[in-house]
């Protein structure tokens, strides 16, 4: 079935507004029902996406190619899991909301992620800097509200302020970069830009490079690449956990699609593109080292995941730096699919465990293997995949990243990658150690899990193994055989 382009985004937007309206008019209803409505609506959108194929959109600034479809799926799946987490997290949220009726405000907490999702879907298809910027703002502004949502929690407010200031700053860089690129080429459309680039005279190239680097800085904030990562640990720790998951997966993946599109567009002007690649290589090296080394001493699980999110941005940047290889885009896509599954799985289990244990330090996972073997197994799978143990999705991603890096002779990054994978084994296994080696605290009991979360958890566990053992399974899910 062919759906007009943009229709799905509009549907998601309408879904978000519907929940906002319900929040105002259906005051007595259980707010969790709204989340269920949102989940059902998004599942419908996902099914439509599953049926779509790349085609000509008939629009200049909007494309329906396979990465666009893939990243839309990423956005939708992430939002679904975030909503599932939010249901489990609702009680925590309520404690930190100012008075009123017992559930007032919760509806917004379910509606805003859906609006963010619409922004991410637009961003996946945007091939014009103006549309990219607008959709980016839709995403970011929703996050401005979501990050400090727990208004009576100082950490959440602090995270909100940090995110607001730094995100606004990065947006400034991004827009400034766009103006430079526009000033040199007279284009904001990436396709037109690609055609215009070869005819840029030599004396204008520094200006173009400057613009491209500023765009890189702006995107560097979004994907949490060092040295633009310093907001990540505090914001991730302070934000409500489902929103942290959303930031860490959704925000990062759309950042990468934009980065890929921009870098690809610049390939027509090798003189600038080579310097851009060098900058990305340096960024990748710094990100890999910072993310993985700083994760080593962490004792808070949420913070650990924040640093791990920086570290994984490093591996993804290796794949971007290897843009010369045919499989570079494939590596990014597969890595992100794996990253989505394993990170969301970790956050899902974190929400369940921390709601029960009232804290999100690694010690709160002590003895989980004995208390709740299934939760522990799920987290074990997530950690194995994050560390890159074969037969899991994470390994397939790392394998492809190292492959494209080898093809483009990025031996420096490979050497760093070997080192950081070793670090990764240490800090991910710290969680495994807590779950299986350490005894459970004396008063600990089995952790109750809602049926919805259990189903979501098992689906992700199965998908992680499926992607790792049968990479061809990805051909159905992702357009693996694209070349």
């Amino acid at each position: 079935m062919t759906i007009p382009p943009v229709f799905l985004e509009l549907f998601v937007l309408a879904l978000g507004i519907l929940i906002l309206v319900l929040e105002s008019f259906a005051e007595k209803r259980d707010r969790k029902l709204f989340a269920i409505i949102g989940i059902i609506g998004l599942v419908v959108v996902f099914l439509f996406l599953q049926g779509s194929v790349p085609r000509d959109s008939g629009m200049l600034s909007y494309t329906v190619d396979w990465p666009a479809i893939f990243f839309k799926k990423v956005a939708v799946v992430t939002t679904i899991v975030v909503l599932i987490m939010s249901i489990d997290y609702a009680d925590t949220i309520k404690r930190f909301l100012p008075g009123g009726s017992s559930q007032s405000g919760l509806g917004e907490f379910f509606a805003l992620p859906i609006l963010t999702c619409a922004g991410m879907m637009w961003m996946s298809s945007a091939i014009d800097f103006i549309l990219i910027f607008v959709s980016l703002e839709l995403v970011t502004i929703s996050f401005y509200v979501l990050v400090p949502f727990m208004r009576r929690n100082a950490a959440s407010l602090e995270a909100g302020v940090k995110y607001l200031i730094l995100s606004a700053l990065s947006t400034g860089f991004f827009v400034y970069g766009i103006t430079w690129i526009y000033g040199v080429t007279g284009q904001t459309n990436l396709n037109q830009l690609q055609l215009a680039l070869p005819s840029i005279p030599l004396e204008n190239q520094p200006g173009l490079l400057f613009g491209a680097l500023l765009v890189l800085v702006g995107l560097g904030f979004k994907i949490a690449a060092a040295p633009f990562q310093f907001w990540v640990p505090d914001v991730y720790q302070g934000a409500p956990t489902p929103i942290t998951a959303f930031l860490s997966v959704g925000s990062k993946s759309v950042g990468f699609i934009v980065l890929l599109r921009v870098v690809l567009a610049f390939q027509t002007l090798p003189a600038v593109a080579d310097k851009l690649i060098t900058a990305i290589t340096l960024l990748a090296a710094a990100t890999l080292l910072y993310g993985n080394l700083a994760a080593l001493p962490q004792t808070n699980f949420k913070r650990l995941l924040a640093y791990s999110s920086i570290g994984h941005a490093g591996y993804l940047l290796i794949a971007v730096a290897a843009i010369g290889s045919l499989d570079s885009g494939l590596a990014v896509v597969v890595y992100l699919a794996a990253y989505l599954l394993m990170t969301l799985l970790s956050f899902l289990i974190l929400v369940i465990v921390s709601a029960h244990a009232d804290g999100d330090d690694i010690v709160h996972f002590n003895g989980l293997g004995k208390r709740s073997p299934f939760l522990a197994f799920g987290l074990l799978v997530a950690m194995m995949s994050l560390a890159g143990v074969p037969l899991t999705a994470g390994f397939l991603g790392k394998f492809l990243v190292f492959k494209v890096a080898f093809e483009t002779r990025q031996f420096f990054l490979i050497a760093l990658g070997i080192l950081t994978v070793g670090c990764g084994f240490y800090f991910y296994l710290k969680v495994v150690k807590a779950m299986y080696w350490q005894p459970a605290p004396a008063n600990a009991s089995a952790i109750p899990v809602s049926r919805l979360s259990m189903v979501a958890m098992w689906i992700m566990v199965v998908l992680i193994f499926a992607l790792g053992i049968f990479p061809q399974f990805a051909t159905g899910l992702l357009p693996l055989a694209s070349r």
């Binding site: 293997g369 004995k370 074990l380 194995m384 560390a387 890159g388 143990v389 074969p390 037969l391 390994f395 394998f399 190292f402 492959k403 080898f406 093809e407 490979i414 990658g417 070997i418 080192l419 994978v421 070793g422 084994f425 240490y426 296994l429 495994v432 150690k433 299986y436 080696w437 049968f470 990479p471 061809q472 051909t475 693996l480 055989a481 070349r483």
Partner: protein, 492 residues
């Protein structure tokens, strides 16, 4: 027959899953190990020795664009190692002590380690060859960390980090290997790669850098000097079944990888790096050998000795002739069986006496006569006395090293290292006999009166291992006939 090959690794995996889901742990594990052993034995005997090459192969194409498939099959070498895996696995499961905490997970982990090794030996596809080996990494971490002894936590971290870095170096090497041929010919299929090798795509400077990556990657996994420091401590702290499986079987993966992938594909690079390998393996034999002598407790002595003996296998590999490689293959089997038997009995000593320090032991011979006798047999096997498989294989390795002569060139580096390695025999006699004396000889001591002799389950397990050592030692042709045709394919 093809199904039997699958059973060797599938039986442990499936039973591990079953045990985790609640099947009776010990009974299921023993049955699975028995099924695997019987299948491995039938496959080993059924392998057609008149024809070299891979038999009982079956494959499932996974990603056509990369020529990636799930491809399983065996030749003489892998059949031998599969036999080793299932013998040691059965022994390890059989003698596993009573576990009072998390029995299901304990047995599932043992089975997964065995399955990882077996899957790697049976895979003819680089991707799964690698992936199966890594399957054993997390169970090992859990086993040592939860049920280990002594300084278990630091040992568990050390082995896991060390091996994960070794594996990732290996992975980069394998990716390099995959990328060496022109794009249209790229494949993960080991059989196809070996056919490609004759067209010369794996030569030149590129192959040399790939080979050194593989050598270091595999080397870390086999505890090649100076990457060996993870092994002794980990084996000393590991629960008995893990020490048996890891030292006996899983460590052979690196050697198998060199014999299966690195040597046949890149003979030129192998010759190029042979001098470096000779220096390192001399380090294994001499340096680690001397370090073994200075150990003061049995578990560390055994851990270091297992590192040291890898030097002989490397010597056979470095000499790169039929007789030396035959010796290396046979020694992998012999060492796997003997070190597993020794670790099994070391665990029993620790359980009965509560210590493995030489100063605290002594005079146990009268209270544990059977253990004393069987330990003696395993000690002799480990030193390499005639009659045991270790003797036959070490002899072949030395012949291989000395045969490596260039006409008119006099004494070459292979013969020098071969001579050094001969002294290794003396070194191993020193530390093993010292250990034997310190534990069993001397005046019977009153505090050993409550010590019981070897229990039945341990007895059967060790008898299985020692009997296999004697059979192969007296009739080495049973194994060599299977291994040799495969080796002759790539050694001219």
């Amino acid at each position: 027959m093809n199904l039997l090959v699958q059973l060797i690794y599938l039986a442990p995996i499936l039973s591990a899953v079953g045990i985790l889901l609640g099947l009776p742990a010990r009974r299921t594990a023993v049955i699975a190990a028995l099924v695997a052993l019987v299948s491995a034995l039938i496959v080993f005997l059924g392998y057609d020795r008149a024809h070299a090459g891979y038999q009982f192969a079956s494959s499932l194409l996974l990603v056509p664009g990369w020529d990636l498939k799930f491809f399983v099959g065996i030749d003489g070498l892998s059949a031998t190692l599969l036999l080793l895996t299932s013998i040691v696995d059965l022994a390890a499961v059989w003698l596993a002590p009573k576990v009072d905490y998390g029995e299901n997970r304990y047995y599932a982990c043992i089975l997964l380690i065995a399955a990882g090794a077996a899957g790697a030996f049976a895979s003819l596809d680089l991707f799964f060859f690698y992936a199966f080996h890594e399957l054993a990494l997390i169970p090992t971490f859990l086993m040592i960390g939860i049920w280990g002894s002594g300084n278990r936590q630091s040992a568990a971290w050390k082995i896991t980090i060390y091996l994960s870095i070794g594996s990732i170096i290996l992975l980069v090497g394998l990716i390099g290997l995959y990328l060496l041929p022109p794009p249209a010919q790229r494949t993960f299929d080991i059989e196809k790669l070996q056919q490609l090798a004759s067209s010369g795509v794996f030569s030149g400077a590129g192959s040399r850098s790939v080979y050194i990556l593989l050598l270091i990657g595999f080397g870390i996994l086999v505890s090649l000097f100076p990457f060996h420091t993870w092994a002794p401590q980990a084996y000393a702290s590991a629960p008995v079944p893990v020490a048996m499986l890891h030292a006996g079987v899983l460590k052979k993966f690196g050697l198998y990888g060199l014999l299966r992938v690195a040597l046949p594909l890149m003979p030129e690079a192998a010759r190029h790096w042979a001098p470096l390998l000779l220096i390192l393996l001399a380090g294994n034999i001499l340096y680690v050998g001397l370090a073994t002598i200075s150990q003061k407790q049995l578990d560390l002595t055994l851990g270091y000795s297992s590192v040291m003996h890898m030097g002989y296998v490397f010597l056979g590999i470095a000499s790169y002739n039929v007789i030396g490689l035959n010796g290396a293959a046979l020694l992998m089997l012999a060492h796997g069986l003997s070190i597993a038997a020794l670790f099994a009995m070391c665990g029993e000593l620790r359980k009965q006496t509560g210590t493995v320090n030489y100063v605290d032991l002594g005079g146990l011979g009268t209270s544990m006569p059977t253990l004393c006798f069987v330990f003696g047999l395993a000690t002799f096997a480990s030193i390499g006395l005639p009659g045991f498989a270790n003797f036959a294989s070490e002899l072949l390795v030395f012949f291989g090293a000395f045969k490596h002569s260039t006409p008119g060139a006099g004494f070459n580096e292979f013969q020098v290292v071969g001579t050094i390695a001969l002294w290794g025999l003396v070194i191993s006699a020193v530390y093993m006999l010292r250990a034997y004396r310190a534990i069993f000889m001397g005046e019977p001591q009153p505090r050993w009166q409550s010590v019981k002799d070897m229990p039945m389950n341990l007895g059967w397990a060790v008898i299985l291992l020692v009997a296999a050592l004697l059979v192969v030692g007296l009739l080495p042709r049973t194994v060599l006939d299977a291994v040799e045709p495969g080796i002759r394919l790539f050694v001219k």
